[in-house]
Assembly symmetry: C2
DNA sequence: TAAAATTAAATTGCACGCAACAGAATGTGA
DNA sequence: TCACATTCTGTTGCGTGCAATTTAATTTTA
């Protein structure tokens, strides 16, 4: 018998498995990323840079759905590790241009096995994974669009 | 043309939309939860207690996929707010029994609209939501099962 | 063109989230 | 029963994650 409070049950809210799943997946990355001396957030920054070589801070925030309060100190750490450089744009000194270094590009070859290792942790069929993927992006676009 | 590094693209890793989606959803909760003077994590703890009235710390950790390092200080805050009590089990003094107070139960009536308000943010059909839900739980059970 | 508004990044403060460790209570086996 | 292992909670340290504020550069406008 359903009652007034049913919607408040943990298992009736989509947020809960989403939140839990996200954390658990990140935990599964940890051992692989430890070998690269990267945290998960540092890893997704590096993934952007492996593709684009260069990006400014504002675009990076948008791409990763992160705040400058998160990225500012993190980018400094990646610079300390020698994987990126941070420079002000010549056109507009407000902009911070983040570029990948040779050392950062070299890391890509060590990282290339990470997705394969992770895929083993997630036991979905190709079709299920594709469905999950498209549903997540649908939610995401709905959330960020109507802001 | 696919290349060796394709799996390393942000858009080819399920973790990324999962992580982003989770954060964005929590952000959407914030204004509603602010009215209840709860954070998101405090809210999911209260949801468990609204259902069960009483639970010990270890089980709460398991239920919410959280660590004692997270829950320990958080439970103290909820106790300060008067929503829960913390007591040692009489049978086994190692166990911490968390119980909801009258004030905590009263909060449930104020919280009952939160899920409705949140549902508006996620523009999925009932079927899509059900699919997303079952896929997330499938991943989750796979992740925590083979630990 | 000088003042006001806007934009971008950095900083601060607070709340997780987890690994690693500490410490107390309980269970176990010789 | 006494040493030893196990279980459970709590603490510390580090890394996010975001709101709010600050600072600097640029653009707009009066």
């Amino acid at each position: 018998m359903p009652d007034l409070y049913d919607p408040l049950k943990l298992d009736n809210q989509i947020c809960f498995p989403l939140y839990a799943c996200s954390k658990e997946i990140v935990n599964r990355y940890r051992p692989y990323l430890d070998e690269l001396d990267l945290t998960y957030t540092q890893y997704i920054v590096m993934m952007v840079l492996w593709e684009k070589r260069e990006i400014n801070c504002r675009e990076l925030c948008r791409r990763l759905y992160l705040d400058t309060g998160t990225l500012s100190p993190l980018l400094k750490k990646l610079e300390c590790k020698g994987y990126i450089t941070r420079n002000r744009s010549e056109n507009d000194e407000r902009n911070l241009v983040v570029s990948i270094t040779e050392e950062g590009m070299a890391l890509r070859d060590k990282a290339v096995d990470v997705p394969k290792n992770m895929a083993c942790c997630v036991d979905l069929t190709k079709e299920e994974a594709a469905t999950l993927y498209s549903l997540l992006y649908k939610v995401l676009s709905g959330l960020t669009g109507q802001k």
